[in-house]
């Protein structure tokens, strides 16, 4: 836990990956406030995703993947809540069950020798070829980060690739009542 000038008395829990989803007012500077809190207090951001989720209320959802002990992550949650435009902070790992997904776009260097293997692998992973005006081989793969990681590892063994990844977004899968 401790963020103090003095050494921590006992490191109580192990470091784990956590996905936090933060609802914020969509106003200028809000992302900077969130990111600044992480860098200023020495916390980690593994990936971050932000998009407006409701048109009428002007609310954005920020999905942050971080890692730390449960004490650190609980402190992160509380520090996030201090930020004025933050509505709510949900730790999806604490919620119990959630689903997550991310998108990767992969530019694949293709040749006659590896073409067959590449297409087979993409087929296996249900990666979708994206048509484009230059007719280059760009595939899109979506799913849990684990799956994307595996795909990238295997395609790397076949040929050279360039990759962009969105970082995961996630949502709680717990049954909710409609009124909520």
């Amino acid at each position: 836990m401790n963020k103090s000038v003095y050494a921590s008395p006992d490191q109580v829990s192990e470091t784990k990956r956590h996905i936090l989803t933060v609802l914020v007012d969509n106003e200028p500077g809000v992302l900077a406030r969130v990111i600044g809190m992480f860098s200023g207090r020495g916390y980690n951001i593994d990936s971050l995703n932000v998009a407006e989720v409701s048109n009428d209320e002007n609310i954005s959802r920020i999905t942050i993947v971080t890692h730390g002990t449960s004490e650190v992550v609980s402190q992160i949650e509380k520090q996030l809540l201090r930020i004025v435009p933050v509505h709510s902070v949900t730790n999806l790992d604490k919620e119990g069950s959630s689903v997550e997904a991310e998108v990767a776009l992969v530019y694949i260097y293709i040749s006659d020798t590896n073409k067959k293997k590449v297409y087979q692998l993409c087929d296996l992973y249900r990666a979708r070829k994206i048509e484009n005006e230059n007719n280059t081989t760009i595939f899109e793969i979506a799913g849990a980060s684990e799956r994307v990681n595996r795909f990238i590892k295997e395609i790397n063994e076949i040929t050279k690739v360039e990759i962009v990844r969105s970082g995961p977004v996630a949502i709680s899968s717990i049954q909710k009542n409609e009124e909520e």
Binding site: K3, V5, Y6, S8, G29, R33, G36, K78, R82, V84
Partner: protein, 588 residues
């Protein structure tokens, strides 16, 4: 539309509706429209400082001595960057401030225009919230929200950056009660959570054998009623109580339950009691590192109750058993009613034993110092100041360093809001402008800045402000020609190599005062001291009293960095063991 007014007028109207009486500021290009409007009205007073850093500390002093929100008005660029230290200070010590900064007109933003800076970007981490107002029609709602946010929950500084074109533009004014602030933007405690925890906490206290109350600045921020309730509850329990630097005055120094301040330069009995207690009741304090000392040896055998309005303070450095999120006065009021309702009473036998133990620790007489000779000891100077001012309504401010700790140790505070010091950030140069702010808020009171010779020079330009507004602030300099606390650490931890801590070429403070048309006094020996203090108090003018004190006095008792509450150093002769001294050296 005919009910439209300019942005600058909206600023003044918002301040007036918020009940603002005084603004501390400094004009400049990007706030000229606001200053022009200020010129045309009489309801809000403006105090012109001599550097923006002075304005924000003055606003802090005003806020902390009156309980109102301090307001600052400065220009763009350097005006804004000069208030950054004060904003950070207010953030750390939870002082409600609204700071208005001018900004270059919107079409110039981003062009590296003259006196342009990214004010909201620079101040984001050192404000509770900040705004760049681009639409004149949103100006009044921003102001009303800003004042609410500054005061709500854990108070703090809020900054409003206003481009010059918005100050000139016309728009409509909305009244305070027309503004609806969404609840997520404010602090709201959950009432259910509190109730259960309060009952648990009160039961825990009732079963305590060695309880101690650990009181912080949150009790002062919660208002005078909070201090009254805290005192009432403590006397019902009969428990000893210790206060942090920020909490001094919540319980009177003469209260029989008070053990005085705790922490690095706190009382031996207070720290020992914290170490050995079985139930600790933290009200409005945050387990600051100056208080806890070494964390792995902090009060090892106690159950800890922590009442705080800011949830992020819970389990931040110290894990607690019963956390209660809420405002001190509400929580303590409920605690008292539970205590009364359940007819709780603490076991008198064990409480007596506990007090016996504490009284033994008191016998150590940890503030004892050698007061021989004609040379003035700094501790003695503060003691005399206290004796000669205790019957007057007195506000004490300080700078940062040895003199600050001696003031905390030797000046006895009986009431909240009378003691203004920079605790969290430790800002040298805080005390004098803060005293100016306190004097503006309390024109008839005696306001004394207990200062060091190094700290006072950090904002000495404010002499001009004090004299201009005929503010009879007293600057009481404990002059040892050193940055005393730096020198002390160098002596204890760096082999006595006094690297750059001696202040050569100090001004003649008496002549300095006179050059500002203030009064300068000097005491060189104990014989002159009382006379100088009396003269200082009686002078109806700004005074600098230059008190020459022994040069190499150390501030004791002391918990050295890296040590625990039960490892206090009472004097120089008692050296810390080498291993923990080495470990402590890397800490602050």
């Amino acid at each position: 539309m005919n009910n439209e007014i300019t942005g600058a007028e909206i600023v003044l109207k918002s301040l007036a509706e918020q009940g603002v009486e005084v603004v501390f500021g400094y004009p400049g290009g990007a706030v000229l429209p606001i200053y022009d409007t200020l010129f045309k009205q009489n309801s809000i007073k403006h105090v012109l400082v001599r550097q923006e850093g002075g304005a924000i500390h003055a606003a802090e002093g005003y806020a902390r001595s009156t309980g109102k929100t301090g307001v600052v008005l400065v220009t763009s660029g350097p005006g804004a960057t000069n208030v950054v230290t004060g904003l950070t200070d207010a953030m750390m010590d939870s002082v409600p401030i609204v700071c208005i900064t001018g900004q270059v007109p919107q079409h110039l933003i981003g062009s590296d225009a003259f006196q342009e800076c990214d004010t909201t970007g620079i101040t984001r981490p050192c404000t509770k919230h900040n705004y760049l107002v681009k639409d004149v029609n949103k100006l009044s709602s921003v102001f009303h929200e800003a004042f609410t946010i500054a005061q709500n929950g854990r108070p703090g500084p809020v900054l409003i950056d206003i481009p010059k074109d918005v100050q000139f533009a016309s728009g409509t004014y909305e009244e305070k009660n027309k503004i609806i602030i969404p609840s997520h933007r404010l602090f709201e405690p959950s009432p259910d959570f509190e109730k259960n925890k309060i009952e648990e906490a009160v039961e825990l206290i009732s079963n305590a054998k060695k309880p101690i109350f650990y009181i912080g600045g949150g009790c002062i921020n919660s208002g005078p009623k909070a201090s009254k309730l805290v005192r009432e509850f403590i006397s019902m329990v009969g428990s000893p109580v210790t206060m942090t630097l920020m909490g001094l005055g919540v319980v009177g120094s003469s209260d029989k339950n008070s053990l005085g301040m705790l922490g690095m330069h706190g009382m031996y009995e207070a720290n020992m009691a914290m170490h050995e207690c079985d139930v600790m009741i933290n009200i409005g304090a945050r387990f600051d590192d100056r208080v806890t000392g070494r964390l792995d040896a902090f009060s090892p055998n106690s159950k800890k109750i922590h009442i705080d309005i800011d949830e992020s303070n819970i389990n931040k450095t110290i894990n607690v058993d019963v956390p209660i999120i809420g405002d001190v006065k509400q929580v303590v009021e409920k605690m008292i009613s539970v205590w009364k309702g359940k007819k709780y009473k603490i076991d008198t036998e064990s409480l007596k034993l506990w007090w016996n133990k504490i009284n033994k620790w008191k016998e150590v007489d940890c503030l004892n110092y050698n007061n021989e000779g004609k040379q003035i000891k700094p501790q003695y100077a503060v003691q005399r100041l206290y004796e000669l001012t205790k019957n007057t309504k007195t506000f004490i401010t300080t700078e940062v360093g040895q003199h600050q700790m001696w003031a905390a140790q030797f000046y006895k505070f009986e009431e909240p809001n009378r003691w203004l010091t920079s605790g969290g950030l430790g800002t040298m140069g805080y005390g004098f402008p803060a005293a100016i702010g306190a004097q503006v808020g309390h024109p008839d009171a005696l306001v004394v800045d207990i200062a060091g010779d190094a700290s006072i020079l950090m904002n000495i330009q404010e002499m001009s402000t004090a004299v201009q507004y005929r503010l009879p602030v007293k600057i009481f300099i404990l002059n040892n020609e050193y940055m005393g606390m730096v020198r002390q650490w160098q002596e204890l931890l760096h082999g006595g190599r006094y690297s750059e801590s001696y202040t050569d070429s100090l001004p003649d403070f008496v002549k300095l005062a006179e050059s500002y048309k203030a009064v300068g006094l000097r005491a060189k020996t104990t014989d002159e001291l009382d006379n100088v203090i009396t003269q200082m108090i009686e002078t109806k003018n700004t005074v600098i009293a230059d008190i020459w004190v022994t040069k190499e006095e150390n501030c004791f008792p002391m918990i050295q960095s890296g040590s625990a509450h039960n490892e206090m150093m009472l004097s120089k002769d008692q050296k810390q063991d080498k291993k923990s001294a080495e470990k402590g050296k890397i800490l602050v």
